[in-house]
Symmetry: C2
Subunit: 164 residues, 2 copies
């Protein structure tokens, strides 16, 4: 499968990864959440090459995750800001950070603690069910693949079997 075909899978994780699942793309989205808006700073702080930053930012604008805004005329200069679609990636970032804080700690504690403005405490957000309000975990969330997802996966396995 080519990478761009991942977007056609019947799976929202795969579809999300088709846009986000690139080494430097998520680093640029991380920068956007940290408040970085300008190309040069995005480039330096993400560590990607200018060419990589340029292609990834264009794709993110095309996908609707960032918008490009002129902040200066003569010469025109642009900055990049998260759209609503982009801002809603916040739980993905928080989940990645929380996991890294726990499992990739270098002994110095969280590099970037999050404070909850509502209560004033340093927080480690967790997930609850939006229906009953109880915590959810890998043990009590059961996926119920749609018929089209199940069929697509069945066909992929069948095709591989018949070609081997």
């Amino acid at each position: 499968m080519r990478w761009d075909e991942v977007a056609d899978l019947q799976c929202s994780v795969a579809r999300s990864l088709a846009i986000l699942g690139d080494r430097w793309t998520m680093m640029l989205i991380r920068e956007a959440f940290l408040g970085t808006r300008r190309f040069d700073e995005m480039q330096v702080l993400s560590g990607a090459s200018p060419q990589v930053v340029a292609t990834r930012l264009s794709r993110l604008v095309e996908a609707g995750i960032l918008r490009k805004i002129a902040y200066q005329q003569r010469p025109t200069r642009y900055e990049y800001r998260l759209t609503e679609m982009g801002r809603e990636l916040h739980p993905v970032m928080v989940a990645l950070m929380t996991w890294g804080d726990k499992w990739l700690d270098d002994g110095q504690g969280p590099p970037n603690p999050l404070r909850h403005a509502t209560c004033g405490a340093i927080t480690r957000p967790k997930m609850i069910c939006d229906q009953c309000g109880e915590p959810v975990s890998v043990n009590d969330l059961v996926s119920e693949p749609s018929e089209r997802m199940a069929r697509q996966r069945h066909e992929m396995l069948a095709a591989a079997k018949s070609s081997s």
Copy 2:
């Protein structure tokens, strides 16, 4: 910056991405959460080439996210299962899925709805503060970079300025 240097950044998102932020790696973790354990099925269902699957699975074992278990002798055959460290990536997967369900819907609804075993309802999990129990959002979580994170970012910007 080379990709492997991303792991040295003072940021848990970056450190997580240094392991996970590769096109096919997250697809393989997705497969593991969907219950796929064997190399061949991982390969077919992720869509990656056998070589890519082999290198990525090895790295995930090395990182402690998957473990490799012999399930058959003569010839020895292995399967891959999530470790505790791997299972704790569940919120990342759920957040990616929830985002994709909303923003990348093809008009047919969620490909893979999640049912919460505790209450029996189809759920779209959301994040709350582990201290006060109230919802968290991008608007009320304030990052408080550690001194070492702030210093690293400052030095990266200063180094870029002095070399240009």
